[in-house]
């Protein structure tokens, strides 16, 4: 039994604890609505991006139908122009290859680069019925946006091959099947996000391994790394002998390499800062909130924004296509590369440190 004195002391301690936890007390509770932020990212950035892509693939399909019915240069150019729009929009979606979307490998089915042109040519030369179902049975390197790019942009002969050359009918059938398949994947990815992954994404506010914040930060890092290493450094010969490798540029056939990089960077900006018209909270707001608690001398988010702006300025100095810029504007490209590398450090080292995010997606076993 507790004596009265003990009881009084315990009661006093209990009251002290309760008082300490009173939210109106001097002890301030610092919170940031991470669920709201995730909902904003999902509804303002992810869904509109996927919806835009679906919309553009539907237009692409209509342009293909038009081309099939009117085999001329005008409809062919319209089809090519629409592919450029579609691929540019897709690059903004690339960053959302996370969670269930990633495990479904649907992104790979939409955009695996480079294409295996031997496979594609063999399918065209074969006797199988070329439909979307047929495409479904084939590997990622024979379909998606890069395969369509190959058929539309490989050479100046592309229109000839698609209209009057031997096997032109099968070539067009393959192209049509690719576009139909692409549209079905665009529908599938938006369905997967909306009904399968979005409820998980929107309701996991921690920074744990595999959490929404963790996978998003990892994707920001991964996309920046890809842009710097795969899309710039390797074609620039930085990793090899210093010689230029224009055919290692992504989408070099269509001359869309630089625009795709721009779209990737735009998607990074959107996840961090939202679209310019939005006043809602995004990932940078959360990073700023965390930083304000760490008494940082320099706001990381403003550094990232400045870096993104500087990258934009560098891109504006480069005249597309990158295949020519590699020859004519190497110094400008090098400057762009260095700026993107620094953005990578800001994201990979500083942002992940501020948010306590583990830069790998594997579970670990302790410390």
């Amino acid at each position: 039994m507790l004596s009265n004195n003990h009881s009084s002391v315990l009661l006093a301690l209990l009251l002290l604890i309760v008082y300490s936890c009173d939210r109106n007390s001097d002890f301030e509770e610092k919170t940031f609505d991470r669920l709201k932020m995730l909902e904003n990212i999902s509804s303002e950035i992810v869904l509109p991006s996927y919806a835009d892509f679906l919309n553009e693939t539907e237009i692409l399909e209509s342009k293909m139908i038009l081309f099939n019915s009117e085999l001329n240069l005008t409809t062919f150019n319209q089809l090519k122009a629409q592919w450029k729009i579609s691929t540019s929009i897709w690059e903004k979606c690339e960053i959302f290859n996370i969670g269930d979307i990633q495990s479904s490998v649907i992104h790979n089915k939409i955009d695996t680069w480079p294409s295996n042109i031997n496979f594609i040519e063999n399918f065209i030369a074969g006797t199988d019925e070329l439909t979307s179902d047929f495409i479904n049975t084939k590997g990622s390197s024979s379909k998606g946006l890069p395969a369509i790019e190959y058929l539309l942009f490989d050479s100046e002969e592309a229109i000839t091959l698609l209209t009057i050359a031997e096997n032109a009918d099968r070539r067009r059938a393959y192209l049509f099947a690719l576009i139909e398949n692409l549209k079905s994947k665009a529908e599938e990815v938006i369905h997967k996000w909306t009904y399968e992954y979005q409820p998980i994404f929107n309701n996991d506010p921690t920074s744990d391994l595999g959490s929404s914040i963790s996978v998003l930060v990892n994707q920001l890092i991964s996309i920046t790394e890809q842009v710097a290493q795969t899309k710039l450094a390797k074609p620039m010969g930085k990793t090899t002998d210093g010689l230029l490798y224009p055919d290692q540029l992504e989408s070099y056939r269509s001359g869309m390499s630089l625009q795709k990089i721009q779209s990737n960077l735009l998607s990074i900006r959107h996840v961090l800062f939202g679209k310019s018209s939005s006043s809602k909270t995004f990932l940078a707001d959360y990073a700023s909130f965390v930083e304000s608690d760490l008494d940082s001398e320099t706001m990381l988010t403003s550094k990232i924004l400045t870096q993104l702006n500087e990258i934009d300025s560098s891109i504006n100095l480069i005249e597309p296509p990158l295949t020519l810029a590699l020859e004519n504007q190497f110094e400008e490209l090098d400057e762009l590369y260095e700026k993107i590398r620094y953005l990578f450090i800001l994201l990979n080292v500083d942002l992940s440190n501020d948010l306590g995010v583990v830069v790998t997606l594997n579970i670990n076993d302790g410390d």
Binding site: E28, S207, E225, I345, T360, D365
Partner: protein, 445 residues
Amino acid sequence: MTVTDIISAFNPRAYGISIIPLAIFRICFGILMAFSIARNWYYNWIQELYINPDFHFTYHFFSWVEPLPGNGMQLTFLCLFILAVFIALGLFWRLSSILFFILFCYTELIDKTLYLNHYYFISFISFTLILTPAGKFWSLDNLFFKHNPKYKIHPCSIVILRLQIALVYFFAGIAKINYDWLYKALPLKIWLPAKSNLPIIGDFLAYEWTPYLMSYGGVIYDLSIPFLLLFRKTRPFAFVLVIVFHLLTWYLFQIGMFPWIMIFSAVIFFDEIDYLKLSLLLKFSFLKNSFKTSYPRKLNTSKYLIIFMALFLSLQIIIPLRKNFYCGNDTWHEANYRYSWNVMLVEKTGSVEFTCFNPKTQRKWTVYPNDYLTTFQNKQMSFQPDMILEFANYLDSEHIDDIVVTASAYVSINGRFSKPFIDINTDLTKFQSCAFCVQPWILSD
């Protein structure tokens, strides 16, 4: 347990004590190890961590340790699992414990990337267990080979385990006595607010003072728990604290087996009377024959074993202290950072890429580590200088000509803005790894 008890435990002739705490510890250890090894299959770590990497970061003096080809690693882990079960059952005790220690150390020595404080803890605890008669009680060896159970043992077998566990806590507490931990509540200030959506305790974690409370609580816990566990009167309270503390860390942070290992390790601190009381409380009448009370009797043990154990224990004190002989911030340069019980001490991230130059051909190129390493290896290397150096020398060894390898690395600690980590002008191939020094090419923080 008093200081006199501890001192007398290192006398070759000392009063015998009950083997029960040691037997319970052995059983818990075996079960936990079996579970821990099984996790490697469940998470596909054998493939990802041992088989997939083309390159492994090696330890000093153990660069010859390599993963086994084919299904060798799978077989190794299968053996480890079986041995852990044997340890729990007390079957072929001596052989099982020796083989477990050898195979466990082998898996840990393959790649420095895999270093974890609790793996190190398991390594030396499994070594210590070999020296004890832990398999002489509640074991299948006794049943199958008709050995008489050993009720009383020389106290050094139990005391050395208690002291080793106590040292882990103590040095983990000492490591936390630093500016960031005490004055800025870092890294908890980064980690805890991110958990504020957790049920039950989430609200508590969002308060500004919570990281401070938990930082100071952590230091006080680590420094006091060895003593609270060692003394009989405070032991039950201490054990409750151990459970609460480690369950909290398990709930808040993803630290795998570590909390469970520390909780179950604490069973060694209880003595025969504690377990007798517990068995009576739980009405475990089948255990009544296990508690043999007898007049205290002195038992002998080899003085060489005692000397060896004392030296081994001394090492456990010297090794964590050695980092104090180096200038600079050890969380930055990481000289002798391992084996020092720096548990959950900093939030540290980094990034590194290498530039190679062949003076003969005048060719210069960039190497991205992710072209050679797994994501996990790359992440671990990015802020650990000895690994950066080893990888630079590996790049050199890949070429017939002597090449110059420099590294551009940035590191951030506890939310501070990233800083250059390595002197970008230093040719790392001119340096070799050094077990006991801070490399001159590491820039100051």
